[in-house]
Amino acid sequence: MFESLFHALPVALQPDSLLSLVVGTLAGILIGALPGLNPVMAIALMLPLTYGFDPIIALGLVAGIYNGSMYGGAIPAILLKIPGTPAAIATTFDGYPMTRNGQGGLALKTACWSSAVGGVVSALALMTLAPLLAKVTLAFGPAEYFWVAVFGLTSIAVLVGKDLSKGILSALLGVIVGLVGIDTLSGEERYTFGSLYLVGGFDLIIVLIGLYAIPPILEMAEKRNESYFNADSFRVSAVAGGLGLLRNYWRTWSRSSLIGVCVGILPGAGGNLAALLSYNEAKRRAPDPDSFGKGNPVGIAAAESGNSADNASAMIPSLTLGIPGNLVAALVLGALMIHGLQPGPQLFTKSPDVVFGFMWQMLLTAMLLFVLGGMVATRLFAQVLRLPTALLVPTTLVLMAIGVYTVNGNVVDLYVMLAFGLVGYLLDRLEFPLAPVVLGVLLGPMAEQNFRLAMLISQNDASVLFTRPISQGIIALLLIVLLSQLWKYHRRNARSSAAPPSGSA
């Protein structure tokens, strides 16, 4: 296997492959950075144009757009609090406060390096462990998926902030939004109120753009008269170099990359979840968890290395089993089939140069981020903040509207986006945390569906949830996280009751 791996390296290093990687990565950063435009759409539109070329060129573009957009999504997340892609939601938590504190340059650099590191780790996992990890994918049945979703939901406890009840209400709002539409198990309509539009359910991306991107825009418009940004903080060169970052973040990077890779091999989970779980774990482990959400660069490092580490590993079930882990992976499968390559176990023996070449390309684009992300993109995009608010607000709104419209070609989607924007704005004003909403939308239905599938298969024998070793492992992890969290609460309460509250508390 390693022989074929190295045999494919020259293929990936051909000039036309390299060119497609550079073009793809730059395009990816741009697409990721524009809220609303998403990499799936870009790749779907671009692939038909490459059918005439060598497959390695098409795959180079895909690899570039895919990895580039993961970092690109972080740019508006940090500068404007607007996640460029749904996976960048967790990046806003600390990225934007850093910008307000005048550390935007450091935040962008951290995001760029973290994305690159996550991407490299993930690509290495793809290259060396793919067949092994594919076996893990298959071991996950509905019961295991149920526990993964429950595990993700427990992280709400860490993300809620001060008021637990508000956090739970936010999460439940997300769950209700996720339930709208036809229930795939029974065929019944839920919460559709006789509306044809609601029958299909809400599109995740539209809900997320509305909830997470519109409130910051409204906030920007409100503060138009204040000097909102300090553009001088974006002199990227003023920020300390890579080795310093490495020393500070290597623990976070390795933990988050591991989480990203694990989430990636499970079809259907996604970079979104990887970023939130990584953020969560970083916050839980930190000596100063209270500094998260106020501009702690470790939060960015965790979120960005987590979501980028999801990328290449999501290709594992796709390339080894022919089971696409996400929409981009499905497009890659389509591209391979158009070139007469059948995805699945024989792909590695029948066309090793293409499949291993693609793995190298995933590695190379991740490495390109060090260069392109830092030098070109970051400098360029930081200039955005020099635009007057009166220009920035409408431009961003229009771009988002275009992006949302292209998802389904349906004007109603735009109203839905605006409605969720208002909901998000109200929640923000009432100090409800927004992060649990996305977990509810993603994980509520995932937990429900898989629980019911597991019950269908076992004919309502609930023991199936507890008897399988992987489930037991996840339950153990879940208990550790919950108990340690409770222990912290307990200690904090004990401490505050032991020492009578001082004036400042």
């Binding site: 029974s186 158009i338 070609g409």
Partner: protein, 320 residues
């Protein structure tokens, strides 16, 4: 002057080759609604066909993805447009023959103009190598002998694969337990992981596992057997060719498109599908050509819609 003559000659040649065309249709770009999101199988086939269709129509054609509601939203949108041949629908069968039984929609096979069907592919049912059956007949017998025992993964309530299976199971009085997944990928994952007993889905994804000996496919949902799966019986062989339920694709237009234009489009599609590149692409997707035009196409839609309505009624899923 020379240029004018050339154009004149070209115009004369075009007129001669399509004598039936009285007007100059198409004289502006055409919009093709695909009722599925960008990047899926339906979208891929539609975009691929579109490349060659543009050449045959002599006009550019833009694909517009209008996803949602199992395809109903896109078809609703088409049904409301002007029947002038400038807005067409490129769809698979479920939004026309299945979805109207389950949801409120603003169209039916009767109120759309049928143009031409293009390609189709059967579904298959596969089991692990140690399953006690080696052909369609034994497979059916094993399922009959063990009611309520075996689980089969499928593409969900109202999914075409599920309906194909239910039709067959009803005819043979089989009681197998359906486990609805999101599609063939998820079904394959759960089948290979041993979480369900039977794979029910399209042929292409499971093919490599058949070649590797990790799966044996014993049934296809078309009347004829499939070359790629020699072990699998077709429905003809099992004595029920009328149960054929497959995935197929077609081009439709809003109600009231005049026949000349419909014929013009059907001719163009018929030429476009003959490009070797397109045929190669179809083969890779496991699909074969099946060209049915005009009223014959409407009849095919009617028959399928009625058969599926009956199955859904038996399953308690028919609402409209």
């Amino acid at each position: 002057m020379k240029q004018y003559m050339l154009i004149g000659a070209l115009a004369a040649a075009t007129a001669a080759s399509t004598p039936a065309m009285a007007d100059d249709y198409p004289n502006r770009p055409i919009e093709i609604i695909v009722p599925a999101p960008a990047g899926g199988g339906t979208d891929a086939v539609a975009r691929m066909l579109n490349q060659y269709l543009e050449e045959e129509l002599g006009q550019s054609a833009a694909v517009l993805n209008v996803a949602g509601g199992g395809g109903a939203i896109g078809v609703n949108q088409l049904a409301r447009t002007k029947p002038d041949g400038y807005t067409l629908l490129s769809t698979w069968n479920s939004p026309i023959t299945t979805v109207p039984h389950m949801q409120r929609v603003q169209y039916s096979y009767d109120t759309l103009t049928p143009i031409i069907s293009t390609s189709q592919s059967a579904y298959t049912m596969c089991v692990s190598p140690d399953f006690p059956a080696d052909n369609g007949e034994e497979f059916i017998a094993e399922l009959q002998a063990n009611p309520g025992h075996y689980t089969y993964g499928n593409d969900g309530v109202g999914g075409t694969m599920r309906l194909a299976a239910e039709r067959i199971f009803a005819a043979f009085e089989i009681d197998a337990r359906p486990i609805p997944f999101g599609g063939a990928g998820e079904t394959l994952q759960n089948f290979l992981g041993g979480h369900v007993d039977i794979y029910g889905g399209s042929i292409t994804p499971v093919l490599p596992y058949v070649e590797e000996g990790q799966a044996k496919c014993l049934l296809v949902t078309s009347a004829a057997p499939n070359e790629a799966l020699p072990q699998a019986s077709g429905l003809e062989e099992l004595g029920h060719p009328e149960l054929e339920t497959v995935l197929w694709r077609m081009m439709l237009a809003p109600e009231g498109l005049d026949e000349e234009r419909a014929t013009f489009i059907a001719d163009a599609v018929e030429r476009a599908v003959q490009y070797p590149e397109f045929q190669e692409f179809l083969a890779g997707q496991g699909e074969t050509l099946n060209l049915v035009r005009g009223e014959a196409l409407r009849e095919r839609l009617r028959q399928e819609s009625e058969a599926i309505g009956e199955v859904l009624d038996n399953l308690g899923l028919k609402k409209h």
